[in-house]
Assembly symmetry: C2
Homo-oligomer: 133 residues x 2
C-alpha cells in the first residue's frame, strides 16, 4: 500500500544496482523570506496550508507532530509514506523553512505540493533548491 | 527553556535584521551508501544509534515518530527544540539518508551528533553537505 517500498531482495552487490539508483531520494528545500507579518504568526493558517498542500499532492500522511514555541514559532513534521515534510518558522525574522523529502518515483507529488505552496505564498520571496540523494 | 526561540519583537523591517541573520538555520545533509547488510535491516539498532547520537549532542527531543515499512525500510523523525532530525533507510539499495536541521546557535550540538554518527558508521561511505538557510 505504501508506495515508497518495493519488495526487492536485499544484499545484492553494488554492481547489480541500476545506474539511476545512485540517488534514491529527491529533496525539495524551500526557503521563504520576508513572510507577511500576520501570516508568519498564524500557526493555524500555516498548518492548514501544509495540510492542504499535502492533500493536493496526494501525499499519504502516516503521522504528524506539531509544536508551538514560546513566545512564537512553529514546527510541523509529517511522516509520509513518501518520506517526510517539515516546516519551521522564525517569526522574529519573517522566515519559514520547508523540506519535502521523497523517493524519486513520487517526485510528481512533490512538485504538486510545491506548486500549491507557491500559490499560497505568492507574495513571498521563495527560494527552492532540489537535491538528488 | 527551548533554546531555539529568542523573545525578539516581530514585525521590524528588514533593514533591522543583522547581516548574519540572512540565514537562520544550518542543515546537515548526510548520505550513507553501501551500508552493511546486517545493519541496514536492524531497525532497533538504527533507532538506538539515532537516540544515542542525539543524546551525545545534548539535543532536546520534544517528540518522536517511527514507522517500519513493509517489507523493509525505516523512517525516524524527531521533533527537537533545536528543529528536527530524520533518518530514512532503503535496505534494498543499502542507503540511509539523514537530515539534521537546527538554528545556527545550536550548530555545535549538530556537529557533536554528526561526529557520533561518523563513529557508528565508520565503515560506511558517508557524504555530508551543509546548507546555511
Amino acid at each position: 500500500m505504501y508506495g515508497r517500498r518495493k519488495a526487492k531482495p536485499i544484499g545484492f552487490s553494488n554492481r547489480d544496482i541500476p545506474r539511476r539508483l545512485v540517488s534514491v531520494g529527491v529533496h525539495y528545500i524551500v526557503d521563504l523570506d520576508n513572510v507577511d507579518n500576520d501570516l508568519i504568526v498564524d500557526n493555524d493558517k500555516l498548518t492548514e496550508i501544509c495540510n492542504n498542500s499535502l492533500e493536493k499532492g496526494e501525499a499519504t500522511i502516516l503521522d504528524k507532530m506539531i509544536h508551538h514555541f514560546e513566545p512564537h514559532g512553529l514546527t510541523l513534521l509529517y511522516l509520509l509514506s513518501e518520506s517526510h515534510f517539515s516546516m519551521h518558522t522564525w517569526p522574529e525574522h519573517q522566515k519559514i523553512r520547508i523540506d519535502f523529502f521523497t523517493c524519486e518515483q513520487n517526485e510528481s507529488k512533490c512538485i504538486s505540493v510545491i506548486d500549491h505552496l507557491k500559490s499560497e505564498f505568492e507574495s513571498t520571496s521563495m527560494k527552492i533548491n532540489i537535491l538528488r540523494r
